[in-house]
Point group: C2
Chain length 452, copies 2
């Protein structure tokens, strides 16, 4: 017996992501009868995803209905789940910002103005949810998950769960060190989003950290000398990841590896040293154009499929569930099909040493009762003091700046960049970023004290 | 009617400071009959201060007794108050460290290895107090007051109160902006030691902040253009202080001004811009030698006086109370002569947003009941997020490194320096500092994971 629900996807034009959700919904029989509402401000993309979804479901004979709208309020009417994947600024904006900051001597970004547009959109969506479908779960699937989910849960009374892929890095570790059945690994990696640490790594009932240590001792050097990444994000076993492991005693997982100290990120040669060939990780001038091109190629392929009525979508897209958590979590909440997930929810005691109203990334049991985070063991104090709490403070500053519109807090953040060499340089790049076309709303919002 | 107590001074060879205490004791009749125990590991200095104190008290006819010893346990026997002013490393050590780091491209220090020797001595003294005179008040009068007082109160059960002069900066503000009677100012400046902010500044019953604003608007530029400091620490009204005031909305007081963002401290020209002529504040290659020479001149003068039995000490040293708080606090605790002081004590709710077991600098009423901090109003959230909490974390990292002996935490701190340009530079200066003669014990203590 199945239970139809209404799932609204905000930013549904992100075709690859939306189609993944559609696949998972089609392949989850217990959610048959559901209605998927695609919402996006881009009508072409919206039409494309609607066509593809309708045809894909039809090919599989799945009992799903689809609607599309550019009106967010309409999309939210009667929603049981709201999946927000919208990203208001996009790759072109990010590139333009990097080009500007480069003129002031910054390597690959190095400074930014925070996430004003993303936070504003998230808060607008959350407030709409609170007004229109207050019992819905909002599943935040676009960045910044950490700051955004914290903001939304503080400013509204709705239920928010942030999701990210980063934690799958544990599987990459298992695969690279040669564990025969990575799917049999038991693991735990709590922290903050993009800042999670492998506290448990168990294979066939035994601690598997010694296998990591053995790999580092006997195989890592050769791996670093010879490994050539085929994905820009393939850095889970990089020298930089192992260096962080040596510093902290726990392995950093997923996007955690991309961050770490500024010294991993000073220039392209340094990044290649820490994060490998050929791109030095995903956040470089070599990797990013490729990553964006891949996304664009995917969109072009979607468009081609949408415009080719004879194309068989099941052949093109496959008929296997993705590894995304959104639909299984919905299935758990609606149908009590219990599962174990990695979620971002308000802490309230799950991770010791982090305030209750801060969103943490922790494992959770999801079933009809809800999303129930596990109260994990405390992280080592060193990780708390050097990784978790400094980032907590950074997030609090971001939210405080966002809420107060205090311009000098943005400048302060620019000055904190390890790449800023003088006050004048920081002030100059700051003013130039504020003047950039596309930042008018931001400059208008942040009026606070202007410090010369 | 007077009550004699035993006051032990650890590091009593700091002659200027010890003589100040002796003066205040001589001039506080209600403490007549007290015994002052001078303790130092330098016998020449110890003899000198003992001679001077004895003669000074005799000249004034004060009823005080003095003893001297190089044995800390003996000095602590029966002590009611222990004033710790010892500074185990000294100016020569600091200069040698600066010379080493300069070879690696650092301007005026820029990196250091924390306060191992100071913290170790403080903790040793606190443990001795706990063992020998557990009811005594330990008055911590040497740096680092913030980390050291927090460490001692966490690791022992004794009563600790840290003291500092920085808060007198409010008088300097009043004087410079032309308040006719600076002594009539009512003020409050809570925070952490060397990180305090003027929340109240009231003259003749009215908020006097507008007088500061008026001075900034009409007189500051000329002051900055023409003012030439006569003391290396004369920076309370500097451009850097006013810049911090503009950023935060509250005036930074005393040593707070010396700190602030890294951008005030990149080189001598920058420091002169922010902190004025001729030295660019106290922490420069121009100011420090002069400051040290002044101290040495004072010691030489003390030695001359001590060796000249005909010198009249009251003429040479004066017979007015200093503005130090140690003796008035003792008088308040012993004789219920109530007073209002600026103290560093465990927070326990006095300053919102700071954990209870962290030592904060707050006003306190001192009388026979004890040292009773005022629960002050919360500091602005921006100051908490950009000034107070980051420094709290830094202090917690210092203490964690100290307690665990984790070498990589010291390296991490070196890497955090805004002057460090690359991992290799940070590692090289770190290793060289560890190898420096005088750092053998430190290198031995910090064994933790060695990260290459």
């Amino acid at each position: 017996m199945s239970t139809g629900v209404k799932v609204t996807i905000i930013g549904a034009g992100s075709a690859q992501f939306s189609l993944g959700l559609v696949k998972d919904l089609c392949l989850t029989e217990s959610l048959a009868g559901s209605l998927v509402s695609f919402m996006d401000i881009n009508p072409e993309r919206l039409e494309m995803i609607h066509k593809l979804a309708t045809r894909y479901a039809a090919e599989l004979g799945a009992d799903l209905r689809f609607e599309r709208t550019g009106d967010r309020s309409a999309a939210l009417q009667g929603a049981d789940f709201v999946i927000n994947t919208a990203y208001p600024t996009g790759h072109h904006y990010a590139r333009a910002m990097r080009e500007r900051t480069a003129r002031h001597g910054y390597y690959y970004g190095g400074v930014n103005l925070g996430s004003y547009y993303e936070l504003k959109l998230m808060l607008d969506v959350a407030r709409d949810v609170e007004r229109i479908c207050p019992d819905a779960w909002l599943i935040q699937s676009g960045n910044p998950v950490f700051a955004g989910s914290t903001l939304m849960t503080r400013e509204t009374g709705i239920k928010v769960c942030g999701l990210c892929h980063g934690h799958y890095g544990y599987q990459e570790i298992a695969r690279v060190i040669g564990i025969p059945h990575p799917e049999r690994v038991t693991w735990q990696a709590p922290g903050l989003n993009h800042n999670i640490w492998l506290t448990h790594f168990i294979y066939e009932g035994k601690d598997a950290y010694p296998l990591i240590d053995e790999w580092i001792e006997t195989k890592a050097e050769e791996y670093w000398r010879t490994h050539v990444a085929t994905r820009t994000h393939d850095i889970q076993m990089s020298r930089g990841a192992v260096h962080q492991y040596r510093l902290y005693g726990l392995f950093p997982i997923g996007d955690t590896v991309r961050r770490g100290g500024w010294w991993y990120h000073t220039d392209i040669e340094t990044k290649k040293y820490w994060f490998g060939e050929p791109w030095g990780g995903p956040d470089t001038e070599l990797a990013r154009p490729l990553f964006v091109k891949n996304l664009e190629d995917q969109v072009a392929e979607m468009a081609r499929l949408a415009n080719d009525p004879k194309a068989k979508l099941v052949d093109a897209l496959g008929a296997e569930k993705t590894r995304e958590q959104q639909v299984p979590i919905i299935d758990g909440l609606v149908n009590d099909h219990e599962g174990y997930f990695q979620v971002n929810v308000p802490n309230r005691g799950a991770l010791a040493g982090v305030p209750d109203d801060v969103v943490v990334e922790v494992p959770a049991i999801v079933n009809k009762k809800g999303i129930q985070p596990l109260r994990v063991e405390p992280l080592p104090r060193k990780i708390m003091l050097e990784c978790i709490l400094p980032e907590w403070l950074e997030m609090e500053r971001d939210l405080e700046a966002f809420k107060t519109g205090d311009r000098s807090m943005l400048l302060w953040d620019v000055l904190q960049s390890h790449q800023t060499r003088s006050y004048d340089q920081g002030l100059a790049v700051f003013e130039e970023m504020l003047r950039m076309p596309g930042n008018e709303d931001l400059a208008d919002h942040f009026r606070g004290p202007r410090i010369g």
